[in-house]
């Protein structure tokens, strides 16, 4: 049994101006809930019109969201959460890269903005729930416990970026798109059928506050040029870079090392050391991680007691891998059944039990196969 068949709720629908959140709001209204739309102005420069590039939080997005709300027939407001977003998401994003980690700002936004700042304000104003266009399913057990599950269509599943939600946040979340086996094309067709003009609007970039998709350019502007060495595992200097923050563990392209490795095999980023501004590269095998430690664990229900076996997802669009995990002194210790490659500190590990989200934590350190620990 899912949310949309519950008693009518007072629902605040977060409407980005995109097709998913518009259809989600429409479905919530159709299900009999009392829905109010809200567009979050998150950009520090809300005046900016996007120019071809697909961004977020522009005047045009706000108008698209308003237009959709008018068609659905629900009240609509714009709330300015730009300052909170800058502090909690954008600055955190920059600081994480500066520290050599690879953050996921969408998780951060869900944890700190959509299901914190927005949800708190919604609850204070008398709303029961916040509705978004995420593809994930909330299952209500007979005893009233609520569980977050992968979307019915696992290809579109976004439960990974919602893995940071705790039980309280989940209790006030509504995901009307999650429990239907509809493809994106079908969502667009549904939008069309509902008369929503956003039906044909292109999908947004992964990182909404980098409208042109150029993350490196964004970071370079914020952090400046800082030339440093690219070295191999033995410490031998192979080349230079313009800033260690510009790299992600597992990255292969853009290393700009003029000469090939002695064995002719491609080289990958193994380690980023912000302290001495050094990027270490090496062969693919050296990327293999057998275990990791993750901090700031968050649980969708009660925290698991004792070690357990789960499947884990390590990236927004990554596959699943089997792990055993245990909570030790507030830290999550994870061992992989089979070694995995390209695990970057800063990213979230989300643990699943079948389709159910158990919880998440932020990767702090990994153990490479030879037994070395990298932070």
């Amino acid at each position: 049994m899912t949310d949309t068949r519950q008693r009518p709720l007072r629902v605040l629908a977060a409407m980005s101006g995109g097709v998913d959140s518009a259809v989600a709001a429409a479905r919530a209204a159709e299900a009999g809930h009392d829905v109010t739309g809200v567009h979050l102005a998150l950009s520090a420069n809300p005046q900016s019109f996007r120019t071809g590039a697909r961004g977020c939080c522009t005047v045009e997005d706000s108008r698209d969201a308003r237009r959709a709300a008018d068609v659905i027939g629900i009240p609509f407001y714009v709330w300015d959460l730009a300052e909170r977003f800058r502090e909690d998401v954008v600055e955190d994003f920059v600081a994480e890269y500066e520290a050599g980690r690879t953050p996921n700002p969408c998780l951060r936004c869900n944890e700190k903005i959509k299901f914190a700042a927005l949800l708190d304000k919604a609850l204070a104003l008398g709303f029961d729930a916040v509705c978004t266009g995420h593809y994930a399913t909330v299952v209500v057990r007979e005893d009233g416990r609520r569980e977050l599950h992968r979307a019915s269509d696992e290809a579109k599943d976004q439960s990974y970026v919602l893995g940071v939600l705790d039980a309280r946040q989940l209790a006030h979340a509504l995901f009307p798109l999650g429990d239907t086996l509809t493809t994106k094309d079908e969502i667009r067709a549904e939008a069309e059928r509902r008369g929503l003009a956003v039906a044909k609007k292109p999908d947004s970039h992964d990182i909404c506050f980098i409208a042109d998709g150029d993350t490196q350019g964004f970071l370079a502007k914020r952090l400046g040029r800082a030339e440093g060495d690219i070295v191999d595992e033995s410490g031998a200097r192979l080349g230079t870079h313009d800033g260690a923050y510009g790299f992600t563990i597992g990255q292969r392209k853009g290393l700009r090392i003029g000469h090939p490795a002695p064995d002719g095999k491609p080289r990958y980023v193994l380690d980023i050391s912000p302290v001495d501004n050094t990027v270490t590269v090496g062969p693919a095998e050296a990327l293999e991680v057998s275990a990791l430690t993750a901090v700031r664990p968050r649980w969708c229900g009660t925290a698991p007691s004792g070690p357990g076996t789960y499947t884990a997802q390590l990236r927004a669009h990554g596959g699943e891998t089997e792990v055993s995990a245990e909570l030790v002194g507030g830290e999550l210790r994870v061992a992989f059944t089979e070694p995995v490659r390209g695990v970057a500190p800063g990213q979230a590990i989300v643990l699943y039990d079948g389709t159910r989200v158990v919880g998440s934590a932020t990767i702090a350190a990994t153990t490479r196969r030879p037994g070395t620990v990298t932070a």
């Binding site: 102005a41 809300p46 005047v59 308003r66 714009v78 709330w79 708190d120 204070a124 104003l125 008398g126």
Partner: protein, 387 residues
């Protein structure tokens, strides 16, 4: 449903709808020479005469426009260009900082693109420009002033400006004074000839006429440079085929508004006083904005400390009460009102405002609805806080 946003727009009067629909079926460009054109021109000129009478002006002083915004732009930009063309030293523009954006942004544009030196005349805590303030600004150097512009009554907080005194001061220095009387028309005596103004803006849809039509009352000695060039239909300062049905209906609404003004001010003023009392009773720390006495009879403006105006709007809207925060949005994001900031209100406080504006359809039930809803709404909005 309690509609308390008449300052945004007010329902059309039945007699204006009747006049408009009658004209919609008729053909005729008021500039044409044939019979159809003559009929249309007669309708327009009769409307112009009715407007002139309602506004205490001569028919030749009524320049019809597409609305208040165009009239404000024509007055501010047109008079600036004309005065500067006559004497290139005249680049100073004196404006109150509490003007509607139609004036404020026009003035700002002149500063950015036409070399205007804009001087904002300070207002007191009630949002009023004092005649002495204008005098000081003019005395400093009367020869470099292109024009001054001060609204008749403020659209947000309702304070009435001492327009006649200001016009007297401006006249002493032979500087044209423009006044945006969009909110004042229908509520105050805005006789143009008696005011001493060089130019005055009025709008149709704020007094029960249709959207898309307004007028600039313009003294005959003033020839602003046009903003719209073309056929020169309106005294060669405004071009564009006249919207005959809208003009006819505007005239009917203006005549009705002028006839009913005193009754409106008394009756709606009394209803407004009850609304103010009810709100202050329900929320004792609410602050009534603007001048408590000398204000628009239909305006009630409040600041609710610790509230976001947007939250209050949402909560009242859900209870069927339609009002406004009173301030403009930037990209849909509520900004602290420039009017309140100009009166010295702290920015955080200036975010928690609501404007209730009454009109010809307002009833005691509307006031009761606000009285019942405002206390709980403010309590809720305070819990939600300032984001």
């Amino acid at each position: 449903m309690a509609y308390l946003d008449h300052a945004a727009t007010t329902p059309m009067l039945p007699e204006a709808i009747e006049a408009m629909t009658a004209q919609l079926a008729a053909t005729g460009n008021a500039s044409s020479l044939h019979a159809a054109g003559r009929r249309a021109r007669r309708t327009v000129e009769e409307a112009r005469e009715a407007l002139a009478e309602a506004l205490g002006a001569r028919p030749s002083e009524v320049v019809l426009t597409s609305g208040g915004t165009e009239a404000d732009n024509l007055a501010v930009k047109g008079l600036y260009w004309a005065r500067r063309a006559a004497d290139p030293r005249r680049t100073r523009v004196l404006a109150s900082p509490v003007e509607h954006h139609a004036v404020l942004d026009a003035v700002h544009w002149l500063a950015g693109h036409e070399g205007a030196n804009v001087e904002y005349l300070p207002v007191d805590a009630l949002g009023r420009v004092h005649p002495e303030t204008l005098r000081e600004a003019l005395e400093r150097d009367p020869s470099d002033v292109a024009l001054a512009t001060v609204m008749w009554a403020n659209n947000e907080i309702g304070t009435v400006m001492p327009v006649r005194e200001l016009a007297d001061v401006a006249a002493e220095f032979a500087v044209p004074l423009h006044s945006d009387a969009v909110q004042a028309f229908g509520q105050l005596d805005v006789g143009f000839a008696a005011s001493g103004l060089a130019a005055m803006t009025v709008s149709s849809h704020k007094i029960g006429g249709p959207y898309g039509v307004g007028a600039l009352l313009l003294g005959r000695e003033h020839s602003p440079v046009p903003v719209l060039h073309g056929g020169g239909q309106e005294r060669h300062v405004r071009s564009g085929t006249l919207d005959v049905p809208a003009v006819a209906a505007f005239a009917v609404a203006a005549r009705t508004a002028a006839e009913r003004r005193e009754d409106f001010a008394r009756d709606i003023g009394a209803l407004r006083d009850r609304l103010v009392a009810a709100v202050l009773d329900a929320v004792p720390d609410a602050i009534l904005g603007g001048d408590p006495e000398d204000r628009l009879p239909a305006n009630a403006h409040f600041t609710f400390p610790g509230c976001e105006g947007d939250s209050l709007l949402l909560l009242l809207d859900a209870r069927g009460i339609e009002c406004s925060t009173g301030s403009a949005c930037t990209a849909g994001v509520a900004q602290p009102s420039h009017v309140l900031l100009a009166t010295g209100t702290a920015p955080d406080l200036a975010r928690g405002t609501l404007r209730f504006s009454l009109g010809h359809t307002s009833t005691a039930e509307d006031v009761e609805a606000v009285a019942g809803a405002i206390g709980p709404a403010v309590e809720r909005a305070r819990a939600a806080g300032l984001s």
